[in-house]
Symmetry: C4
Subunit: 183 residues, 4 copies
């Protein structure tokens, strides 16, 4: 399951760059429309990187896998796989409100899918298992969806406030989840 | 063989999302033509997920591989690799009859290729092998092609009846194949 | 090296399907221009499958790898990576002479790159090594480039004669290389 | 981390070929605009091949990984992932000055990211570790960014001088890093 997930995440990370369409012409000005696509690519690259790091750390502790866990994992990969679309939509429209809102909806769905995967893994290993103890509780797990939701609302005030929420979550997760490293 | 198959399936799963073309414009209405592509993406994602789950479970029991098995496996991957095309064709044409019929033809071909792979693996391991006993018989193996065939016929009455067949097969396979887990 | 090569070959195999562009419209006639692209996809899928099978069998016997071998391997992957382009060019032009000739040039280059990889692996393991003995000599190694060259010439008489050469080589390699299985 | 990086590099290597768009028409002349894209593809293929070789050799010696190393690695993958875009931009504009300059900026960023990854790995293993001793010092590490920088300046005299710098660095790295093989 880890190899398959790593493969899917690696492909998502890399095909996102295909949304940066090579412009016609070779002056610096022809690159200007690529700039917002590039910036949204950076944002999504960091997010996918965070998911890969945390997912990778979590799966290394997993000792039991079942049908429910496999589908919870595929569910997370589904929402992650929409990132290239959401990223391209946002970048090609210069961070307009609807695309930023859609981007936040996808990030919120990813966060909730990750949470469900954690729960299904805890259910599989048992509440008193070494896995459950190592996972513990993180304020980040709860803060992230809350920030995304707030940012989603604020997007309709200004899309830059929505993006501020995205950057904030990226910043608090930038350091990979230490819970497993510690344990 | 398992790593290669997992890689191909992971790529098929992920490039399917490239059929969801980023629309020009940033209003909610510009997203409307993407909706049927998105719905058909969900349908195909679940199907590919089911194939990955069952394929993965089956291959973990495999102890012998030969030329025939390798080609039976590539044959399955061939029909699975047509899923992005069939999915895009169906989604971009709002579930019209010909595209839904083509989608069903591809699913039927995948189901038959999977069946052939099972037979070639049983032939390789022997009819009395642990592998063959673990695989056993499943009514799902026989029901799926029958439902696809019926749905293919019903598509020419209404393409929604055809899609009902697709959803039905997805539903009966949603829970991964327990035969190997049990054994 | 094997995992990386398998990954590259899996991606080549799968992105080739992206050359089958989803047509506008949903009648059976709109699918007609896709038919030659589909046929050339089948042809290339079988060829890449053959390369994967043989490459996979050969690498499982490899015990020593060096810089020369790594580059001989990348050289093979380079020519294989041009298959999606050559396939699309041939399919979208209804098997016209220049595209078929280019396709044959790429196949010839792949065959020669595979031969060079074999030689560099034998040089690395030693002429009397178990690897070299297991590899032995195959008339197929010599026949394939000869058939490709003849087919290349015949393409300028008729592109169908060129394609006959492609199908012939595919047929003689269809059964994976038994040399290693025997040994 | 190695499997994930190998996957990303394999995908970058392969999707680069998608920048070679299949031309309309089937005469030899229709292939003419593809030639510069093909040449820049060769150049980038060799570069990515060099990175894969050196990265692969280095990671096989790695015994400790931490959050800092994971992000230094993702940072390298980020700049490598821009290679398909930079390659396509350069090839489709017939090696004009701005695209060649951008290509050099990306190569320079890759070289610096690789250097940072080396430093973060040395910091993780300790300055007196076996890893640090095996890595040693290479004049290539210092020469490459210097040549890229000089080539970047010279690009504004003539883009061919810039490309000469790219080819020079490729040539000095063509032989994979022997430091680890020796040690």
């Amino acid at each position: 399951m880890e190899a398959f997930s790593d493969g899917v995440i690696a492909i998502i990370l890399t095909i996102m760059v295909l949304e940066m369409k090579v412009p016609h012409g070779h002056s610096l000005e022809t690159l200007r429309p690529v700039v917002p696509v590039f910036l949204s690519y950076i944002l999504s690259f960091v997010h996918i990187g965070i998911y890969w790091n945390n997912h990778h750390h979590m799966l290394q502790r997993v000792t039991h896998v079942g049908g429910g866990v496999l589908w919870a994992n595929l569910h997370l990969l589904f929402w992650l796989s929409l990132m290239p679309f959401a990223t391209g939509f946002m970048g090609e429209n210069d961070f307009a409100q609807i695309p930023v809102a859609l981007y936040l909806v996808d990030l919120l769905a990813c966060a909730m899918a990750y949470f469900l995967l954690e729960r299904s893994l805890i259910a599989r290993h048992g509440r008193d298992s070494e896995f459950a103890r190592a996972l513990g509780r993180s304020w980040k797990d709860k803060a992230s969806p809350a920030i995304y939701l707030a940012a989603l609302g604020l997007t309709f005030v200004s899309s830059w406030l929505g993006l501020l929420g995205v950057v904030t979550v990226a910043a608090i997760w930038f350091i990979p989840d230490r819970r497993f490293e510690r344990a």
